[in-house]
């Protein structure tokens, strides 16, 4: 991360937005805005993003449009000490991209072994059943970080973008009552 981007991020912390790259320039957006603007990804490969998006939406309805992929992707591109991911506080060892790649690989490996196609291509009912097995560590031949732990981390990411933002509080009709308010509803 160069100095300009670091400053942008720190400023973003005050504003409550994150630094995304659009057309070579740093802009401050919420993940939902980054999703709506189809901001290019920095770290995740297209198939990884597709899996994360499908998993996020299965875990918490609304996670796709709330920008779960854009949130995680941006977070994986910055120094670990600046990361806001739940993985940080659950003792995942940086760089966090290693965990996400291993988790996504485990999901698609198990999905392909069970159903002959990656998770994102399963129908909604099959995705739901897969996740229910994954959270209980009941998927045979699972290769990667524990299924229950993967469930917990990715569910937390989806919860963060859907329910943890000022917009999420507003949607639930819960007063946010910030001392220092993230001004961009993030």
């Amino acid at each position: 991360m160069d100095a300009i981007e670091r400053r942008a991020l720190l400023k973003g912390a005050g504003l409550g937005a994150l630094a995304f790259t659009v057309g070579g320039a740093q802009v401050l957006l919420t993940p939902a805005q980054a999703f709506a603007d189809n901001v290019p990804l920095r770290t995740l490969k297209p198939d990884e993003a597709k899996t994360l998006e499908a998993m996020g939406e299965t875990l918490v309805p609304g996670a796709r449009e709330a920008g779960i992929v854009q949130f995680v992707d941006q977070q994986l591109s910055i120094p670990a000490e600046e990361a806001l991911l739940e993985a940080r506080i659950l003792n995942v060892r940086p760089p966090y991209a290693n965990f996400y790649r291993a988790a996504i690989g485990a999901i698609n490996g198990a999905s392909t072994a069970r159903a002959g196609k990656p998770f994102a291509e399963l129908d909604a009912a099959t995705q739901h059943a897969f996740v229910d097995q994954m959270r209980q560590n009941k998927i045979e031949g699972w290769k990667g970080p524990g299924g229950g732990f993967v469930y917990f981390i990715l569910r937390s990411d989806a919860v963060d973008v859907v329910y943890g933002t000022m917009a999420g509080y507003k949607a639930l009709d819960i007063p946010y009552m910030a001392h220092i308010e993230p001004t961009r509803s993030w």
Partner: protein
């Protein structure tokens, strides 16, 4: 490598204990330097958001976490000035007299080399220094005599009040919780506004974090804080009978030496022994001040049994503080659940503000739910969910320990290995507390209630540099002074030989104040 001019005291860690030492010693005219591995946070950095609050914790654990109940390091830890007390819940219960004599009274665990009465005056001093709200008179059913709190109790809300009927039904008396928060303006700091963002840092100064209390006092008295300074070794003289300072890496990751007459290690219970083990030399081949072989041993954690209840009506669960509105010592007797194979005290807290994300957020009241079921649950829980928490005591076990591993961090310092397993008595107490919590919940008017079971959690951290009567049974004395090296001190929860059941930071402040005042009063003998 640069060597800095010798100072009177170098303190490793700018959290609760380090800040207290710094304030006392700087006010006593000593030249004090605090070395803190994380950033120099300001109050204005404390954004009201669960995920922005994660910046206050380390990125990745410096420990390999092992055992049947691996310690949940990062969630509990601090990173930066203020330490874990920048994001703590600020419940301020005291230890009880029985906590100091577990071995004598029960033939298990350990004794402290001091009694409750030795610490009690410092509880009162800390309350005056940092501000505590509570009702000491109401607590007299449990608490030994002491000064009243300087502020009246905090406001209560429906999400706490709805539990009182249930507690009364099972014979548990709840009292207004003593908290390190302002129910009124205190020493120029604002009163709490009950928005429940305590755990991500209180930027208005209503919560007694070190920035607005002891660390602020220390800075005013001239103490210097060097942020992003990571200490890797404590240095000694050739004879090994005095420490001479510390080695650290600065914010540019360049190696530095800070010489000092006295070194105080205040980097939390796991980091202190890691640092002392990594400072081994020919005079201290097993780590500094480790003739007892107990350095890094007797690590302890609390565990919690959480019970949830769902009400139909709006119980204002977004209001309040993140700690609790009421507390109780009515299950503090260590033999309360002996018929179930349990041993240890239980400390009960009721009524915490609910947030929508993070580990303690509403979704994790039902971690099994996802998809449309979770969305439905959120709609019901957003105004109707509340919880109580029963904290349990783990006895010291020598197998729960810190060691150094072969893997190294970016500064070449070996990672720690933290091995932790709860014993059968602790597991039995955890289970018994779930049973009792559910009885309480079912005696309320809640529509639904359930136990928040999952992996047995590790909460708070103690031990590793325990206090005792001599080098044969401990690492430090009751002031935190190591038995073997007179000018090396250890501060914080690492010096607790048993943990009791309450939140520890009030006691950490009290013991640190006691140790620091003793050091200042005996300066010539220690530093000379």
């Amino acid at each position: 490598m640069a060597t800095h001019e010798k100072v009177d005291v170098v303190i490793v860690g700018a959290g609760a204990s380090g800040s207290t030492y710094a304030a006392v010693l700087a006010k006593a005219g000593k030249k004090v330097v605090l070395l803190e591995s994380g950033p120099d946070w300001q109050q204005s950095d404390l954004i009201s958001s669960d995920f922005w609050g994660r910046r206050l914790k380390p990125a990745g654990s410096p420990f390999l976490l092992e055992g049947k109940n691996p310690y949940g390091y990062v969630y509990q830890a601090g990173w930066g000035v203020g330490g874990a007390a920048l994001h703590y819940f600020a419940n301020f219960p005291r230890l009880m007299p029985s906590d100091f004599k577990v071995k004598s009274e029960h033939g298990r665990g350990l004794d402290w080399p001091i009694d409750y009465k030795d610490v009690a005056p410092y509880y009162d001093k800390v309350a005056d220094d940092v501000g505590v709200s509570g009702d000491a008179k109401a607590e007299e059913i449990w608490r030994p005599p002491g000064k009243p709190y300087p502020m009246p109790p905090m406001k209560t809300f429906k999400n706490g009040q709805v539990w009182l009927k249930g507690f009364e039904a099972v014979g548990i008396r709840m009292r207004p919780a003593a908290v390190g928060m302002n129910s009124t303006e205190y020493k120029g700091r604002k009163a709490c506004i009950y928005d429940g963002w305590c755990h991500v840092g209180c930027p208005i100064g209503a919560l007694a974090n070190p920035l607005v209390t002891y660390l602020g006092d220390a800075r005013k008295a001239g103490a210097e804080v060097r942020a992003r300074a990571t200490v890797t070794r404590v240095l000694t003289n050739a004879a090994g009978d005095k420490v001479t300072g510390v080695e650290y890496y600065d914010d540019k990751k360049e190696k530095q030496t800070q010489e000092a007459s006295v070194v105080v290690l205040a980097a939390w219970a796991a980091q202190n022994p890691r640092l002392m083990l990594n400072s081994a030399n020919d005079k201290h081949p097993n780590g500094l001040a480790n003739r007892s072989g107990l350095l890094g041993k007797y690590m302890m954690a609390h565990f919690a049994s959480g019970t949830f209840a769902m009400f139909d009506e709006d119980i204002e669960n977004h209001m309040g503080t993140i700690g609790g509105q009421y507390f109780s010592y009515d299950r503090y007797d260590k033999l309360t659940h002996k018929d179930k194979g349990a041993f240890g005290s239980t400390f009960i807290v009721a009524g915490a503000a609910q947030k929508t994300s993070d580990l303690g957020g509403i979704p994790n009241a039902r971690p099994d739910l996802f998809g449309p079921a979770l969305a439905d649950f959120m709609k019901r829980a957003k105004r109707g969910l509340t919880r109580i928490t029963m904290f349990g005591e783990e006895l010291p076990n020598i197998e729960n320990r810190i060691e150094v591993a072969s893997d190294k961090d970016e500064f070449g310092m070996p990672l720690g290995r933290f091995t932790h397993t709860f014993d059968e008595a602790a597991v039995a107490l955890w289970n018994a507390n779930f049973d009792e919590g559910l009885k309480v919940a079912k005696a309320t008017d809640a529509k639904e209630s359930w136990s928040g079971r999952g992996n047995m959690p590790t909460i708070h951290m103690f031990g590793g540099t325990i206090m005792g009567t001599g080098a044969g049974n401990s690492v430090v004395d009751s002031y935190g002074q190591t038995h073997e090296i007179g000018n090396l001190y250890v501060a914080g929860p690492g010096i607790f030989p048993t943990e009791g059941a309450p939140n520890p930071t009030y006691t950490i402040f009290a013991l640190s104040l006691r140790g620091a005042e003793h050091l200042a009063a005996n300066w010539s003998a220690v530093a000379g």
